[in-house]
Structure formats: C-alpha cells, structure tokens
Symmetry: C2
Subunit: 204 residues, 2 copies
Amino acid sequence: MTPKFHAMVQALKVLPGVGPKTAARMAIELIERKPEAGLKLAGALQTGITEIQHCRICRSYADEEVCTICTDPKRDESMLCVVESVSDVMAIEDSGGFRGRYFVLGGHLSPLDGIGMEQIGLPQLFELVKNNQALSELIIATNATVEGQATAHFIQQRVRQIALAEVLSLKVSRLAQGVPMGGELEYIDGLTLSQALKDRFEAK
Amino acid sequence: MTPKFHAMVQALKVLPGVGPKTAARMAIELIERKPEAGLKLAGALQTGITEIQHCRICRSYADEEVCTICTDPKRDESMLCVVESVSDVMAIEDSGGFRGRYFVLGGHLSPLDGIGMEQIGLPQLFELVKNNQALSELIIATNATVEGQATAHFIQQRVRQIALAEVLSLKVSRLAQGVPMGGELEYIDGLTLSQALKDRFEAK
C-alpha cells in the first residue's frame, strides 16, 4: 500500500483491541467519509496527550493542576473513594451513586513488578487522611481481584493505624460483594455465589 | 470528566466500532502507557487525511498523483481487476494471488441513492479498456452481494460492447463462487452450496 496510508494503519494499530484489518477499516472510514472528524481526532489526541496531567490532590486526570471534582464545592468532602484507575472514577461517576471525592492509585501493589507504596501514591493518600479534618469515611473501591483485594487490605490496616495514632474518627468501608444486578444465578461463579449466600440479608 | 479528556473520548468515538467505553479505554491507554505512539497516531492521521489522494489512473489511494501499483513496472499490465473499494485491493494483495493492476470503483451502482456510472468512475474505466492495448483480461471482482453482482453484470455488458466496437480481443472474467476454504458444509448457506454443486468439477 501507499506509504502514508500504511503509516496511518500502523499508527491505528497502537489502539487497544485494534488489529490490522480493523485499523485499515478505520483509516478508510476516516479518509472516505469522516475527514473532518478525523482531523479533529488528530487534534484531540495531540492536545490530550501533551496537556492532560494528573490532579495534584487526587491523581485523577486534570486540565489544570487540580481536577474538576477536587475543585467542585458541591462534592461531599467527608467521603473519599480510593480506586485503582481513572476508568474506575468514570464508572462510579456514571453510576451516579457517589457524590464524594476520589483518590486514584493508578494501579495496585505488586512487589514483584516493583510497584510498592510510593508508585501507587499511598504516602500521599495517608497525608490526605491525616490532614483532612472533614473526612469521615474512606471507601476502598479497588478491583475485586486478588491484587486489588490485597491492596485494599493493606490500605485498610494502615489507615486504621493512622486513625488510632491521630485520634481521628474515621470509618473505613469496602464495596459490597454479591450477585450483580440482572445476573442469572446459573452463570455466576461459585465464589461470588457462596459469598452472596453468606452475606444474605433479611427480606423486608 | 476533565474537558480535554472528554474531547479525546468524544473524538475517538468517531472510529467505526468504537463506543464510549472503548473510547475511554483507548484514551487512557494512550495517556498512561503509549503517549509517544499516540502522538505519532495524531501525526499520521493529520498527514494521511490531508495528503492521501486517489490515483489518477486506478482511483486507489496514492501519495502522489499515481499510486505505487500503477507505477510498478513489474505488475502485469495485461490484467485489470475491478473492485469496489480500496480494502478489496488490500485483501487481494494480501492473498498474493494477483500480479496485475486494479481499478477501484469506490462503491457500486445504486440509482436510488444517486450513485450512477459517473460516481463509480465507469467512463474512466471504459476509456482505460479502450486505450490500453496491452490489456487482455478484465477481472470483475465486485462483492458477491446483489448490488455488487448487478454492477458486475452492467460492466460486463458494456465492456463486451466496447470490445466488439473497437475490435479488441478482451476476456472478461468473474471470481469463482463456491465453498470457501476451511468452510464446514453444515454452516454454509443454501445458495452457495447449490451453486457449488452446480459448478462442481471433475476430480483429478
């Protein structure tokens, strides 16, 4: 193929889940039918990648030094939700079930990969817990994977120690585990099902 | 979300098959793990969309006025393969089964949508057939859809008339139809199967 088209297809293959066929289809679609949108995409990528930074307070994405959630006075300062990644922030925001603030770890503890406390910003989180007098609940919402749960457990222990030492009245909570909404029992794994049975609640 | 990130996600949604979740995942992947590749992508899109043109001879993509296939002296000038789109050229090139040249229609006849002979470059194709003395075979490789087959039939009729009028010895051929390689009979549609039975050949 012509070199510039080839370059375009190769470049599109960097996107997750995009193989050579899909990349070629995308390139043709942009050239043939959506040239303006394609140029806009080029600009948005350029701007986004060079200018988006991590919020100084919560480590989520921000256009300025501090993100829109951290500067929003309408958010509940007394609740802080700890998540692994920015996409988790988006998922929780989309659910509409939370009006507090976030702290983004940017991963989970993984000593074998050299990812320790520093790498996931725990010193910063602990400072935040110590110095934020308004904080009354820390919700640890890491992934329900082995690594996510181990990270949650570690944070939970340390925050409890800090709360004791600093005489803070701080509640530490975790996401409920159980059967997902709309889930059919026969397709749910045994671990989840036995957990849901164990944590059953009295019907009202 | 932060405006620049939002703009990036919205812009990525223009790609075919990319919804809001995938777009967000792509944006995060580029920002977190592949910023350089992302900037390269932005550049390749910009260059590709503004600079790729249609080859003056075959209507495929070209960096210059004429594409690399039309200028390649090693390609067999006696065979011309008519396809609907640039992606068909790529598919045939990838198959390695053809060393001639191409003509890209850029669609199929569709009078109800206002797509007639002019829109798919048929006058240009017929000129090519008339004036190219080296041409000995025209392979019509439009899609095996109703529209593709109707377009093929139309081209076939007109090229036969031209060959008669101009006293050209030109063979017009179509792609073989039948059972695809690796295809399991029970999953093949009835039309294809009955065609394959009708066109059965003697085993050697």
